[in-house]
């Protein structure tokens, strides 16, 4: 059963003066999904988040969230969405707790003292609750920003560049929180970022944006099937080979004991390994170029060509 879409954009365009930020953009997001909105800086990711939340209006096309236009029904919609903006949007002179209390009042949250304690706990900020937000590291600010965005228990959470400026460890922690939020509470998540590597594991589905246009979308698996016409398998082995191929598989020797084979389908990998194992040892084997970044460049290469 396909879940019904919670967000639907159809043929949406938006220009700022002479810049066309979004062009004929259509996509949907279903309930419970984590969707990665990916693309380089200036691709239009932030604009998409703003359009869906109705803080800016599209020039053409329709935007729907929860089955309504965000412009017409904006306040009832806004109380069901949470947004982490790129700047995190916190009051620096206020403590973590004061920031959350302020937004709780803005969003009309009733039981907010307990809600705040819970969120501070969950995002690892409990011991810093009385520190001013301006003294926080970028990672702490982003965490507080997400806690703020969750204060009113939204159904959909928008995260704009949540890991930009974070060190790898802080990124991993943050993405862990996001994953849990989705798995445990079923929060639908739209995550805009230009850092593909970090969200490859997290997102269920990806939308590739390029100059305001959707150039590809799908799960990692779908994108692999579509874009990886051949696979490179890196094998660490004591196999002795001469020449540019081994039993029909093209081959490159990058350094002694490390071989890179090219296979056409994934199903050829076991066959290749069996052959090698019949005459030598294999210490490790991995498929190269499966990461999102490689896929992205393939997608973009295709789009241009």
């Amino acid at each position: 059963m396909a879940p019904s879409p919670i967000i639907r954009l159809s043929k949406v365009s938006k220009s700022f003066k002479d810049v066309q930020a979004i062009k004929d953009l259509s996509f949907t997001v279903s309930k419970g999904e984590i969707v990665g909105l990916l693309g380089p800086n200036g691709a239009g990711k932030t604009t998409v988040v703003r359009l869906i939340n109705g803080v800016i209006a599209a020039d053409a096309g329709t935007v729907e969230i929860f089955g309504q236009s965000p412009l017409a029904e904006s306040n009832s919609i806004r109380s069901r969405t949470g947004v982490l903006t790129e700047s995190a949007g916190l009051y620096g002179h206020m403590t973590a707790k004061e920031n959350l209390a302020f937004f709780a009042r803005i969003y009309g949250v009733q039981d907010y003292p307990s809600r705040i304690d819970m969120l501070l706990q969950e995002f690892g900020l409990a011991e810093y609750k009385d520190r001013k937000a301006e003294t926080f590291s970028t990672g702490m600010r982003k965490r507080l920003g997400i806690a703020k965005a969750l204060i009113h228990r939204p159904d959909v959470l928008f995260l704009d560049e949540p890991t930009t400026g974070l060190d790898p460890e802080a990124s991993r922690d943050l993405l862990g929180y996001i994953k849990e939020l989705n798995a445990r509470d079923g929060v639908t998540i739209v995550l805009a970022t230009h850092l593909l590597r970090q969200v490859q594991e997290l997102c269920h589905r990806f939308l590739f944006l390029h100059r305001g246009q959707l150039i590809e979308s799908g799960t990692l698996r779908q994108l692999e099937d579509k874009y990886l016409k051949s696979f490179q398998v890196k094998v660490e082995s004591d196999l002795k080979v001469e020449g540019p191929s081994y039993r029909g598989f093209p081959l490159q020797q990058v350094e002694p004991g490390v071989l890179i084979f090219t296979v056409e389908t994934k199903s050829q990998v076991p066959e290749l390994l069996r052959q090698i194992l019949s005459e030598a040892s294999v210490y490790s084997a991995e498929i190269l170029g499966r990461d999102l970044e490689t896929l992205y460049f393939n997608v973009r290469g295709n789009f241009r060509g």
Binding site: V55, I56, T85, Y91, R105
Partner: protein
């Protein structure tokens, strides 16, 4: 209107004044200087040195001449009823010239508070966050207006209190009666100044919501002081007497203008306009 959200914004912004030195410093300094030091120094000087002694310092001499040329009316009658030039000059300065000074203080303070609170929200990206929230634009504006109106009125009353004490204590030995407050002051503090504060706040809301940088906002709102300076000048030259009637009518006019601006604000600024003009 969501009152809880409105007060949350107002209280947050009032608290934020503490962390902005360009706002709280004038809030403290201006009342001390304008409402205590200057009038106190003046009374002290006149009592100590007399009008002649002050002549080359504060141009008190020409003030005495000015009083002679005042238009007929209750101010002139009151002043001429005093038996010494010292009393006449002091009464003229303290209960006439200072009236327009009192207009400048809340005008400037509420302008700075409003411009600053918008500027800080813009700079920190918190305005963007607020616009993403369900808070209505009029609730947001109402919170901002309160956050400038309350401190503006508080400083005004504080100024009035300090001024009243300084003037009465220091001038009593000379006048042997309390010369503050007069009906004029009551009308000024309770009617004209609140109207002027609202007017200044609304103008600043419009300016802040239109321009991007706060330098521009400060500069534009600085122009507001010009008409009041004209009043000060008019008063100082004796061409204008801000009597009770004048203050009542002036307050009503300013209030009407302010309401007009409020109408403009509520018609003109919606979420999308505000977002597109304020968030980059």
């Amino acid at each position: 209107m969501d009152r809880r959200a409105m007060w949350a914004i107002a209280i947050k912004d009032i608290k934020a004044i503490r962390s902005s030195v360009q706002v709280w410093l004038p809030m403290i300094l201006v009342p001390i200087v304008m409402c205590a030091l200057i009038p106190g120094g003046m009374i002290y000087g006149v009592r100590r040195f007399g009008i002649e002694g002050m002549g080359n310092m504060g141009n008190m001499d020409s003030l005495a001449k000015l009083i002679d040329s005042l238009p007929p009316g209750s101010l002139r009658d009151t002043i001429t009823s005093f038996d010494s030039p010292e009393k006449q000059v002091l009464y003229f300065v303290l209960n006439h010239l200072f009236v327009s000074f009192f207009l400048i203080i809340p005008l400037m303070l509420s302008s700075v508070i409003t411009a600053n609170s918008f500027a800080v929200e813009k700079e920190r990206g918190t305005l963007e966050t607020l616009l993403f929230s369900p808070v209505e634009i009029r609730t947001l504006f109402a919170g901002k207006v309160l956050s400038a109106f309350i401190p503006g009125m508080a400083v005004t009353f504080l100024c009035g209190l300090v001024y009243g004490i300084v003037v009465n204590v220091l001038a009593y030995p000379l006048f042997e009666e309390l010369i503050f407050p007069t009906l004029n002051w009551a009308v000024l503090l309770l009617w004209t100044i609140p109207a002027v504060i609202l007017f200044a706040i609304f103008i600043n809301v419009i300016i802040s919501a239109k321009v991007k940088g706060f330098q521009e906002a400060y500069q534009l709102s600085g122009l507001l002081v010009l008409p009041v300076l004209a009043l000060v000048l008019g008063q100082a030259l004796g061409a204008l007497v801000l009597d009770t009637q004048w203050l009542l009518w002036g307050g009503a006019m300013v209030l009407a203008l302010a309401m007009g601006m409020l109408g403009f604000i509520s018609r003109h600024f919606d979420r999308n306009r505000l977002f597109e003009s304020q968030v980059s």
